[in-house]
């Protein structure tokens, strides 16, 4: 029943009181969820910053390894080794639940490989190719870990924004409106009570006059 249609009656008052209790409970819970999500966000942000820094270091290392590999084996040698890759590195997607928010959970698949799994012949390549492959595998793992964290932060931020809007709506609109309505109904009911009392006194007086 919309707020406007609630009549200033006892049942109306009960409805408003019930709704207010519910709104206050939701407000309290959402506020707790918001605080929890903020703590999780801070934790994730710290972790993401660390991961990003690590990612940058791994990127620089991978570039250096690629440079050394290209110097020693030539672009031809490196590309031939790259051509040998038989299992393309990928990831599986899942989700984990944090305060009701679905955060992405990415699992690397065939990213870290053994020397045998890489597909190139050991006798046709040198250890510099292994180093470059290792460095790029580490980089891909770091990219996946970073993407998972940053994706989680984006989702969490969206949800924090939505929850904050709900908390604000409850705090500054729904609860004040219900408080006002309750007060109005109580005033109106008091007024009606007073009118009834006056009316009864008046009728009593008229009856007493007629009796004389």
């Amino acid at each position: 029943m919309p707020v406007d249609e609630i009549k200033p009656t006892r049942s109306g008052l009960l409805i408003v009181r019930r709704r207010m209790a519910l709104a206050e409970r939701i407000h309290r819970l959402l506020k707790m969820k918001l605080d929890g999500m903020m703590l999780e966000l801070v934790r994730l942000t710290d972790q993401a910053a660390r991961e990003r820094k690590e990612l940058e270091e791994k990127y620089a290392h991978a570039r250096e390894m690629a440079a050394v590999a290209t110097m020693m084996e030539g672009a031809t040698g490196v590309l031939l080794a790259a051509l040998s890759v038989e299992a393309v590195p990928t990831y599986t997607t899942g989700h984990k639940n944090v305060f009701g928010v679905h955060l992405p959970d990415l699992e690397p698949v065939m990213v870290k490989k053994t020397l045998i799994q890489r597909g190139y012949g050991i006798l046709g390549t040198s250890s510099v190719i292994d180093d470059a492959a290792d460095a790029y595998e580490d980089l891909i793992s770091a990219i996946i870990a970073s993407a998972e964290l940053e994706g989680g932060i984006t989702r969490l931020l969206d949800d924090i924004e939505r929850t904050r809007r709900r908390v604000n709506a409850l705090e500054f609109k729904v609860i004040p409106e219900l408080t006002d309505l309750r007060r109005l109904i109580e005033y109106q009911r008091d007024e009606m009570e007073r009118q009834d009392a006056v009316r009864l006194r008046r009728i009593k007086k008229i009856k007493a006059k007629r009796r004389w």
Binding site: A67, A75, L80, S84, L115, G119, I122, L123, S126, V128
Partner: protein, 374 residues
């Protein structure tokens, strides 16, 4: 016909040609000058050299370090084909056998490109026709659509028997690595077999090749050890090249050793330790570095599951190449002269490529210099 004990005139002629060609290769001073240049400077400098003159024509299609790499690869292919033309008789056969390593690379690139559906032009750019398989055959192979067709077209190749075994399973996961490893094993077996048949300088060449096999096996053992999952004995058997001075059993023993004493004592039994010690002495300018220190260094890498240090690998290559040159000077009219030239040319190309790539990546000259083989 040449009388026993006499050197054939064709051999003298070929060796003289190789020695002349050797003198035309870049010197230490040339490298020092090139190191001071920018990439366009290197291109202009190479354009003035006889061997790299067509770099100017390639400039329309490539640029930067890629241009240098393309030009040096073409120069390598041209020089090696020219070397095949100069060499006659047994020397020609040996040159063909020796250059098969380039054919292996080309064939593997084509097979992989065919199976993984890589654009033909991309594969063509990776080929260096420095072996016996000429450009016409390689182009024909590139035009084929299935692995089976490519294998059939290679029936006349000297390593075809290896490919034949994999005809049915060509393209399956892990097969290419196995084929590649077997091709290299057969390459070394063929080369050792040919050299063992006897020729001037062959005894020394066998020793050089056997040491190359030992070094390759040791490096690969460290690589296998470094892998995340420990490899089993089967993998060691599949990746160790037979024919070296060090028996495969010793590598197996090394792989299973757990203590430093056991490892270093086994390692000191090999010929690698003194060469490694000499290479590190030169690299670090440390005259006190002994074979025991070398064994200790390898143990540290082994124990920590680390791969060989690239700079030390390069230093060993330098030492080996210097020994080969000394041998070729001692036997001037032998196959050693040809092999020394081919090896020098190979490393000249590698040096120029390293300089161009190093400069393109912005590495300091000191760092690039460590990868130069002189």
């Amino acid at each position: 016909m040449t009388l026993p004990g006499l050197i054939a005139p064709s051999c003298v002629y070929a060796c003289t040609r190789f020695r002349v060609r050797r003198t035309k290769l870049l010197s230490r001073e040339d490298y020092r000058r090139i190191m001071q240049m920018s990439i366009p400077g290197v291109v202009a400098h190479l354009g003035r050299q006889e061997d790299y003159r067509d770099i100017i024509n390639l400039a329309a299609s490539f640029s930067g370090a890629r241009l240098v790499e393309e030009a040096v690869n073409r120069s390598l292919a041209r020089s090696f084909r020219h070397a095949m033309m100069i060499a006659r008789g047994d020397m020609h056969t040996l040159a063909g056998e020796y250059l098969t390593r380039w054919d292996i690379t080309n064939v593997m690139a084509i097979l992989r490109g065919t199976v993984f559906d890589v654009p033909r032009q991309q594969v063509r750019d990776l080929l260096v026709p420095a072996g016996e398989l000429d450009t016409t055959l390689l182009d024909h192979l590139l035009g084929l659509t299935t692995c089976g067709e490519a294998l059939e077209a290679l029936q006349d190749w000297r390593l075809y028997p290896v490919l034949e075994e994999y005809y049915r399973i060509c393209g399956e996961r892990g097969v290419f690595a196995r084929i590649e490893n077997e091709l290299y094993m057969n390459y070394y077996a063929g080369l050792l077999g040919l050299v063992a048949s006897g020729c001037s300088g062959c005894r020394e060449l066998i020793a050089y090749l056997r040491f190359e096999i030992d070094i390759t096996n040791m490096k690969n053992l460290l690589r296998l050890r470094c892998g995340e999952e420990a490899c089993d004995i089967t993998t060691i058997d599949q990746t160790m090249i037979p024919g070296g001075r060090i028996p495969i059993d010793l590598f197996r023993r090394l792989y299973s050793t757990g203590t430093e004493e056991e490892f270093t004592s086994t390692f000191l039994q090999t010929d690698i330790a003194p060469v490694l010690a000499r290479a590190v002495r030169e690299l670090r300018q440390d005259p006190g570095f002994s074979s025991e220190d070398a064994a200790e260094l390898v143990w540290q890498r082994w124990h920590q599951h680390l791969r060989p240090v690239h700079e030390i690998e390069m230093a060993i290559t330098r030492t080996r190449l210097r020994e080969l040159e000394a041998l070729s000077r001692r036997h001037p009219f032998s196959v050693l002269t040809m092999i020394a030239y081919l090896e020098r040319k190979r490393y000249e190309v590698a040096n120029l490529r390293a300089i161009a790539r190093g400069k393109a990546f912005g590495l300091p000259p000191g760092r690039i210099w460590q990868y130069i083989v002189l």
